[in-house]
């Protein structure tokens, strides 16, 4: 949420402090919209038989079809019994129930009270099949709500899964990776509990050139969940251990691996400037910029997010992103058919435009202005709103010549058209931007020219109309512009008294002066 004081700074084009203009990814505590569809999947259930078949590492010692499903009572009895064969069959049956496509009865299974027993099975190094089935079942329980994940954690599964990472049976260790991914993704508390129990070294040990790609995808995804979530963000030493491997994974040829690695970096950069610095120092920015150009949405989206987060940082960090070539990657993204990509790209640009005039100059030099104008003119509304911020920041931090260049690029017409937007905040920012433009015009002695241009482009009548806007701030900003540019400021103790002659008395008492 952008602060009011920030707005006033924008408004007067003074006290420009680039860092306050940069807008972090907004922390939304309340959302009216549907959950975002472009986010990475937080938790996953193992439901697909195809997935297993594609994936020979999962072993072939399981017969999925043709088994007669025991009742829940039978399952409880068998799981709690001593017959290993029955334990396996019951665990497998549980896993089957939890793997059905629609509405797995996770609550019912938890209520059976068999989780502690399943966790015990994880420790049966003599029976890999049982370990595997229990791990699978627990994975799918942990894939549910936070409540469900807690049931698994409270059952003591964390240490058991961590030791299974080093299981000699790849399908067991892979299933454990999966379960741990679900636990890590649930909340910062579990994530940090895993890290505290040293999940990272055995997890990283699984990454090698020989790791099958399917397994690697799972590992990368679990790693990304270890980077995920804020308040607090993951411990610094953990991040430092993860980063070299993430960088390695970013070079992988499999796009799912690259995608999840990108998501991981995007989580690490969605943080304070110190954390951004840790990522920047790895020298990964050029690769991320390269990935912004990927033809695959699943790669481009997190790469753009990561770079977008980096440019919320310091001027130096932003400069690193510019040097890595972000400005040449943005034009294509600003025109992307997916509105959300357009929006993220415009948001990224807005934070670069919030920088010093040197960086603004690079925006110009790299030919971004025509693309900016195009987004303002024809972009999706969400992208248009961000583009308005680009212009606002540009006019706040840019030199007079740069602002002139911006106006010459044709930004005014679409900007003024957006005064019709059904969004008070956007209108207010545009009005502030217009004030900035007028300040620049005043310095050039071109106020009148700008007045005519605004009128010609239909802006004057829109600003006049905004004097009827219901929102008080909008109304006042519009009125201010109209009064200042289109039509048309006490010290009581110094005020003179009126004397007997009816005129002002000229008198003053001396005091000590010290300036």
């Amino acid at each position: 949420v952008r602060k009011h004081s920030e707005h006033l700074k924008l408004f007067k084009n003074k006290g420009k402090d680039e860092t306050t203009l940069r807008r972090q990814r907004v922390e939304v505590s309340i959302e009216l919209r549907k959950a975002k569809k472009d986010e990475q999947i937080l938790k996953r259930r193992n439901i697909s038989i195809h997935l297993k078949e594609e994936n020979p590492s999962l072993g072939e010692d399981r017969a999925d079809a043709g088994i007669i499903q025991p009742s829940l009572e039978e399952i409880v009895e068998a799981v709690n019994g001593d017959d290993t064969q029955l334990q396996l069959l019951a665990t497998q049956a549980t896993r089957n129930i939890l793997s059905r496509h629609k509405d797995p009865p996770i609550n019912q299974i938890i209520e059976l009270g068999i989780i502690p027993r399943m966790v015990e099975f994880l420790g049966r190094a003599d029976n890999a099949a049982l370990q595997f089935e229990a791990a699978w079942a627990l994975t799918n329980i942990a894939s549910g709500t936070s409540e469900h994940t807690r049931a698994v954690v409270d059952g003591g599964a964390i240490p058991a899964f961590i030791s299974l990472l080093s299981s000699p049976h790849m399908h067991v260790s892979e299933q454990s990776v999966w379960a741990l991914g679900n636990i890590a993704g649930d909340c910062p508390l579990y994530r940090d509990a895993l890290i505290a129990r040293d999940v990272i070294p055995p997890l990283l040990a699984l990454v090698s050139p020989a790791t099958p790609v399917g397994f690697l995808r799972n590992i990368t995804w679990a790693l990304s969940n270890l980077c995920r979530n804020k308040n607090p963000c993951p411990p610094l030493d953990a991040v430092q251990k993860l980063l070299p491997v993430l960088i390695f994974l970013l070079q992988h040829e499999d796009r799912d691996v690259v995608s999840d690695a990108c998501w991981a970096v995007s989580y690490l950069t969605d943080s304070c400037n110190d954390r951004i610095q840790v990522v920047v120092e790895t020298g990964i920015l050029p690769r991320l910029v390269e990935l912004m150009d990927s033809p695959h949405l699943i790669v481009m989206t997190p790469a753009l997010r990561a770079i977008g987060n980096v440019v919320t940082g310091t001027d130096q960090q932003t400069q690193e992103a510019i040097d890595a070539g972000v400005l040449t990657a943005l034009p294509r993204l600003l025109r992307h058919t997916k509105p959300v990509i357009q929006k993220e790209a415009a948001w990224t640009l807005s934070n670069i435009a919030a920088g010093p005039s040197l960086q603004i100059q690079q925006i110009i030099t790299c030919g971004l202005l025509p693309h900016l104008v195009e987004v303002l003119d024809k972009g999706d509304f969400k992208a248009q709103k961000e583009a308005v911020w680009v212009v606002a920041n540009f006019t706040t931090g840019g030199t007079v010549d740069q602002v002139l260049e911006l106006v010459r690029s044709g930004v005014l017409k679409p900007l003024l058209n957006l005064l019709l937007a059904k969004d008070g905040k956007t209108i207010l920012i545009i009005l502030d931007t217009i004030s900035n433009l007028f300040l620049a015009a005043e310095k050039l002695g071109e106020t009148e020219k700008l007045c005519l241009l605004v009128e010609e482009l239909g802006g004057l009548e829109k600003i006049e109309e905004l004097q009827n806007h219901e929102n008080d701030m909008v109304y006042r900003a519009a009125l201010n512009i109209i009064e200042k540019y289109f039509f048309g400021e006490e010290n009581t103790d110094l005020e003179p008294q009126t004397g007997q002659d009816g005129m002002y008395d000229f008198s003053v008492e001396k005091q000590d002066f010290n300036f």
Partner: protein, 976 residues
Amino acid sequence: MELSDANLQTLTEYLKKTLDPDPAIRRPVCSLTAEKFLESVEGSQNYPLLLLTLLEKSQENVIKVCASVTFKNYIKRNWRIVEDEPNKICESDRIAIKANIVPLMLSSPEQIQKQLSDAISIIGREDFPQKWPDLLTEMVNRFQSGDFHVINGVLRTAHSLFKRYRHEFKSNELWTEIKLVLDAFALPLTNLFKATIELCSTHANDASALKVLFSSLILIAKLFYSLNFQDLPEFFEDNMETWMTNFHSLLTLDNKLLQTDDEEEAGLLELLKSQICDNAALYAQKYDEEFQPYLPRFVTAIWNLLVTTGQEVKYDLLVSNAIQFLASVCERPHYKHLFEDQNTLTSICEKVIVPNMEFRAADEEAFEDNSEEYIRRDLEGSDIDTRRRAACDLVRGLCKFFEGPVTGIFSGYVNSMLQEYAKNPSVNWKHKDAAIYLVTSLASKAQTQKHGITQANELVNLTEFFVNHIQPDLKSATVNEFPVLKADGIKYIMIFRNQVPKEQLLVSIPLLINHLQAESIVVHTYAAHALERLFTMRGTNNATLITAAEMAPFVEVLLTNLFKALTLPGSSENEYIMKAIMRSFSLLQESIIPYIPSVITQLTQKLLAVSKNPSKPHFNHYMFESICLSIRITCKANPEAVASFEEALFLVFTEILQNDVQEFIPYVFQVMSLLLEMHKSEIPSSYMALFPHLLQPVLWERTGNIPPLVRLLQAYLERGASTIASAAADKIPGLLGVFQKLIASKANDHQGFYLLNSIIEHMPPESVDQYRKQIFILLFQRLQNSKTTKFIKSFLVFINLYCVRYGALALQEIFDSIQPKMFGMVLEKIIIPEIQKVSGQVEKKICAVGITKILTECPPMMDTEYTKLWIPLLQALIGLFELPEDDTIPDEEHFIDIEDTPGYQTAFSQLAFAGKKEHDPVGQMVNNPRIHLAQSLHKLSTACPGRVLSMLSTSLNAEALQYLQGYLQAASVSLL
């Protein structure tokens, strides 16, 4: 107050009295009256509950209504709890009100329901949701009542509670509230929407039921807009199918029973469809990604709606909303295909645009009977909600992608409409009006008041149309025939003045002058306006396009017709005509001199007449501008003529000043300044008689008077300082009192300095000697207590001017006489650090000369502790010459003028043609201040050889030294 029958009875009596038509009973001067009584008891506990009891149970309907209004006003005044102020309604009353008001509202008759609904939304604004958690559930539960009187009450209340979501900024509080509302309200509202629509088909033949149901639908559609405004809620995204399908079918619905006979007032069906257009437009603009699948259907439905909707005024809002929807969609690249087809385009042009451009009976009525309003809409663009305007926007929207085809289609229409007209002009003149309007909207792509059309559609031959279809109408011998077409023709010249070649404009000028005589207000106003606009056009070399020489044959008829037009009924204070008069004077210059005696008589008569009741600010402004022009033009050729203007004007001016005509006083002072400045010799006694009056505090309390009065006093000082010193010395304290008044204000301090500078520059030194110390003490106090950048800039200019006038030593002595070491402090803390902020050519020069004097003509600078400031001061001076101006303003000052924004009309109206010439008090003394510095330093170094050089070489920074050497070289002097 107890909830007793006795109290109810008393209250009833007093409520009754408030209704008494006799104000003596309602509010007599002394005794305790009804309204006073009610006010005196409203702080008592149970008072609001007594009112609620009355409005529910009183036997008399008037008392019920009166109690409900009194209750609402009571809530409005008292419900809000203001920090640090007592809670005006006791907690138990608050709880009781909230517990009872909803059911009470719902069971009340409509008149009372509306008052209570308003009261609920006032309470809701303060208490909802935290302090009134049950409100939503209570409302939603009523949806199931099946009683649409109750349901509409709930919907209306909900609408007044939720409509602020449309304009408030996103915040956590707001979104938390909206989320809460959505969770409790969205589903029941959707169910109600569906149920209401079903009921509409079951009751399709029951007119009274339909009316209630459609009122609900309108409120539901409005609630939809409010709830969907901030963002697209998950619920509405999931239920888009339900809402949009139903909205769509409602757009296409018609029912004879809902049609109204009224031609003006929009009926329920129109209001509903209009709101649905708004809802669709909201989704199309903000949630395009999700709405895309539905959009084409809405385009078709809205277009069909337009094709089938009549010309009556009651459909105006609907039609203009519907057209604006199409206009906004057709400009989007990904919807281009919906319009691309030639048949579609033709059909839109033919069935949507052309019909809505027709001149309707209502327009004709406005043209004749309400010409001011007509002109405002037609000329000044306050036509945003009109059909013509919407149609015009749609033409522009379509031209973005389809300029060629659209121009082609319309050319055909224009031709056929012109043919219709030609067949029988007196019957078919409206066809030609539509044709002209169509050409205008098709051709104009961008427009300003100053230049008319600035970008035109190149596919339209504007000159050809002008010669063939516009000029013939204007050449007709009868100026009063087809006034609408005449007005169209004149407007055409006016807006396309930059597209039509000059020779055609010259041909038009006598035609326009001729139409100043038309009886129709619109026609002669347009003629005056067109002339005024033509006269402001620029040709090569920035000169006027139309020259005074080209106008020579028409001067007399132009002036005659303009002044005659002011005598036509309805135009006695026509600002367009007055502006044309001003512009004509300005263009024609000395060729108006022969007509001035007659002109100035007419202007003073007008001035006298309007000063009785000034009502048209623009008219008045241009009238004074015209007077100024008359004076300047005449006196430029013949300075003696100033006396005849004074003779003609002073009588009226005296009357204006005596009657205190506030609107005119600032103008009068400006004209007087202009006249006084025209005098070459000593100030006339007539002016001196007025001098004491100009110092009256009452005049200075009005901010609008300050700039012109300061200017006038400056003129007095320039022309009559010695007279003031000799004949009005007793007024000097009063004059300085004005200065003190102005300096006390952050807004007006610069005006105070203007006055002070004139006093120092022009008054004989001995006449102000005794006040000088006081003046500085005053300035130092302001500096100490509330310095602003503007004040410092003015202060620096003043002390340097003082230094130039009285010498540097005098400046040092007076400072140090106020407080020891004061001079050094001012140098160190003010002059050296701030001099860079001084702006303006003349101001900088004054400061340069003043500082040069301090450096070179002030002995204490060379031989006291002030010596250490010598180099820093020189450095600051070189900085003033060479560095860019420092325009930074400290942070805390940015906010000054935002909070204290003056009223809409700036109180001071500066006359352009009364303008003051820039005055350079050091102009004669110093031509080039850099050379002057070099020469002065040379002189100083000659007086004390070696010292200047040694100071320079030890402490002046290298860059400054380099500049200084440059000055010395340019002055061909060297230092010893």
